[in-house]
Symmetry: D3
Subunit: 169 residues, 6 copies
C-alpha cells in the first residue's frame, strides 16, 4: 500500500502550540500520522499532571482540523529500553518514519532499523511543557501557548487546581 | 459541557460487522464514543492474534464513516479486577455510560458507580470473533463478515499466515 | 523474646467454620498467629470473589474472640515460587512455624528451612470454600457453615449478587 | 451498619509517638481505624529500612491499648497514581473518611470522591521519621520518641545494625 | 567478525539426551551457540520443576564437552509475544540464526526478520521432557534418558523428592 | 559434592581489568565462580549503556582463560530488597560464599544467612566503571583499562557511538 505513515512521540504535558505546528509540518511529509503519548501510565505528578485519557482528548480535538488521518495512541512506560521499540510498534499502526529530537529515542529507533527524521521545528520552537506547567502553577497566562481545545479540557477536569495541589508536596 | 460520551470495550479479534452495527446503534444515543481495545498487550495467540496497533488500524478506518467523534484506545490487561475501572478511566476520555453485555465488566462498572447499558444488538448478532478466526484458519469465507478495512489490514500484515502458524502449536 | 508465632496461609474465600476451628487448634500450640490471606490481589472471580480488604474484615471480626494475638496480613501473588517464602516473610511478623497441608507450600517452606506442621484438622474438616461458594450461587444455606461476622460482611458488600453476576460469565 | 471507619496512610519508618497521638485523636472521631502501611514492598533502604512485616509488629503491639478496633494493612506501591485509590480500597476494610496531610494523597482521594480530613496533629507534631532514622544512624537517643513496642521490635530484628550498614552505601 | 552464532531456546525440564544430540548437530553448523533457558522465572511446578540456576548447572556441565563455545542464558517470561524477540536479543549475545520447531517461536522470529532453521532432530527424537518428569514421579528409570551431569544435579538438589511433593497437589 | 562455588555480583558496565584481577584472586579460593550481571534488564542509559547479552559476551570471552569453571548469569532487577537474595539464588547455580564490598548487598546476604567475603582487591583497585564510561564519551584512552575482548565487543556493537548519543540527552 502506498501510504506513508509517520510516528511522533511525546509526553504532551500539555499539548501546546509548538506541538501543533510540528504536526502540521510533518503532515506535509506523510499521508498519516500516529501521535504516541509517552508515559501514558503516569499522572498526578508535577512532570506528568494529566492522565493518558485527558491527553487523548486534548490531542484528538486539536488535530481534527489537520488535513491528514491521525491516530492518538497511549504508550505505557516499560522501563526497558531494549524492548521499547517493539512495544511501540505493537501498540501503533505500522509506520515508516519516526520523528524525534530526543537522543535516546533516536538511538533506539536507529538500532532497530527504523528511519528517524529530526525537524528544525523542535529547535525553532522555544516552548516547553515544563514552562507551561510553571505558568499554570503560578497563575500566569498559559492559555496563549496552547490550542483552545486544551484550555477546555484543563477546565473540564479542574486541571489547574490539580497541578497546584500536587505542587505543594 | 453537554457532551455525552459512551464507552464500549471489546477485544475486537477482529472487528467485524456485528461490532460496526453495534457502534452505529450506540451512535444514536451518545455524542461521542470511546472504543476500548481490551487485552491490548496480547497478540500472536489463537485468542488474540492481532496486536493493539493492528486493531487500531482496523477500527479507526472503519469508524471514519460513523457520524460521531470516536476515540480508539488500547487498554492493557492489569489482571486486577479491583482496579480495572480506574485503569480504564485513566486511559480513556471521560465517559458517562458504558456499553457491555459481559457480566464481569457490568459488575465492575456498577460497583464503581458507572452507568451500564446493555443492548439487544449483542444478542441479535450471532457473529463471534472466535468463529471468524476459525474461518481464517480453515480457509473459509471470513471476509463477508467484516468491513472492507479489516480485510485490507489483515492482508497488509499477512494475518492469515500468522494465525495459521500459531494454530499449529 | 520467648514468643512462638505461627503462620497460616489460605485464600479464605470465604473464611468458614473449618478455618475457625483450625485457628483455635493452632492457638493451643503458639503464642501468636499470623493469618496470611493468599491471592490478595485477586477478586471478582468465581474462585476469588472477595477482595483482600473484605476478607480482612471477615477474619479480624471472627478472630477477636480467639484468646491469642492474631495478625491478618494480605499476601499478593508474585507468581514466582522461588521467591515466595521471602515475599511472605517480608510481609509478615517473624514466625517460627508454618501450618499448611498444601504440598507446594510445604515444599517451599521446607526448602527455605522453615518448620512446617500439618494438622489433622485439615482432613477432618470436609468443608471447602468452593462448596460454600456453590451454595451462594445456587441460593443454598451457606450461612450455617460460616461465622456470623462473615454473613454480615457478605451482606454489607452485597456479595451474593456479586458472585452470581460473575458466575453468569 | 452504623460503623464509621477511618483510614490513615503512612510509611511508619518507624511508627513513633507522633503517630500514636494522631491515632488517639482520630479514635475520638471514628468507630474503627484502618492503618495503611505505604511502600509495603520497600525495605532495607535509608528511607524505608523496615519491612512491612516488621512495621505490622510495631504498630499492632502499640495500638492494642487504643480503645477502638484497628486494622493494620500493608499497601504495596503500584506506581500509578490514577489507580492508587482503587488499590487501597481493595486492600482495606471499607472506610468512610481518610486522614492525610499529604497533598498528593489528598488530591487522589478527592478526585475519587472520598472525604479527606486534615488534622492539626500533623503540624503540631514536629517529629519526623527521617529525624528518628538519623538518630538511629548516629547513635542518638531515638528511643525517647517511639513507643516501647517499637524499641523491642527494632531490637529483635537488629534494626540499628541494619540501618547503619545500609547508610554506608 | 566472521563468527556465526546460533540460538536455541527451550525450557529444558530437564535437559536430556535429545537436547544434547540437537546441540551437537547444531554445533556442526555454527561457530558458537547460545542456549536460552525459557520460563526462567518459573520453578517448583509440575511443568517447570527446576529453577533457572539448576538448569544452568545441568546444561553448562553437559556442554563442556561440545567442541564450540556455548553460552547458557536464562530468559524470564515477559508474557508479551510482541516484544519477546527484543527481550531475547537483549539478554543474549548477538546471534544470526535461531533453531526451533515451535510454531509460535518460529512466527515471532520470522516477523522480526531473524532466520529460523528447523532440524529433523526435533522430530527424530521422541524423547520429551514431560515423559521424563513422569518417570521421575513414578520411580521409573529416567536416568537413562539424560546426561550424567543431570543425574548429579537432580541428586544434589533432591529433585525427585521435590517433583513428587509438588505432584501431590 | 566437595565443590565450593563463589558468587560475584556487579553491573560490569563495562567489565574491566580490575574485575578480571578480582576474579583471578577469587579463583584461588573457590572451585567454581558464578558472575552475576546486575541490572540485567537495563541498557542504553549513561549508567548502564550495555545490554545483558553484550555484557555476557564481554565476560565469557575474558574468563575463558581463568583456570576455573565460571558461569555468567544475568540478574534482572526486582526492586524489592527483601526477596533479592532468593531471586539471585533461583537464577544462579548454588553457591557457598558471596563476594561483595557493597553494604546493601552484604547486609542482604548476611540476613539471609549467606557467608560474605570482602576482598582488599575492591579497594586496591581504583578503576571504576563510571570513569571508563567517561573516557568513552570524551574520546579518551579507555582501551588500556579493559581486557581485549571488551574492546572487540564494544567495537562490534558500535558502543562508543551509542554511549555518546545517549549522553547528549
Amino acid at each position: 500500500m502506498g501510504t506513508t505513515r509517520g510516528f511522533l512521540i511525546g509526553r504532551f504535558q500539555p499539548f501546546h502550540n509548538g506541538h501543533r505546528q510540528l504536526v502540521e509540518e510533518i503532515a506535509t511529509e506523510v499521508d498519516e500520522l500516529v501521535v504516541g503519548i509517552g508515559s501514558a501510565d503516569d499522572s498526578h505528578t508535577i512532570r506528568n499532571p494529566f492522565t493518558a485519557g485527558e491527553r487523548i482528548m486534548m490531542i484528538t480535538k486539536t488535530l481534527e482540523s489537520v488535513g491528514i488521518t491521525t491516530y492518538t495512541v497511549p504508550i505505557e512506560d516499560l522501563d526497558r529500553n531494549s524492548v521499547w521499540v517493539s512495544h511501540v510498534e505493537s501498540m501503533s499502526p505500522r509506520f515508516e518514519v519516526a520523528y524525534s529530537n530526543n537522543p535516546l529515542v533516536i538511538q533506539l529507533f536507529i538500532e532497530a532499523g527504523v528511519e528517524v527524521r529530526q525537524t528544525t521545528m523542535f529547535n525553532r520552537d522555544d516552548l516547553k511543557g515544563s514552562e507551561i506547567r510553571e505558568l499554570m502553577i503560578e497563575g500566569g497566562d498559559w492559555q496563549q501557548y496552547v490550542p483552545q481545545a486544551i484550555v477546555e479540557v484543563v477546565d473540564e477536569i479542574n486541571g489547574i487546581q490539580r497541578i497546584r495541589t500536587i505542587h505543594r508536596e
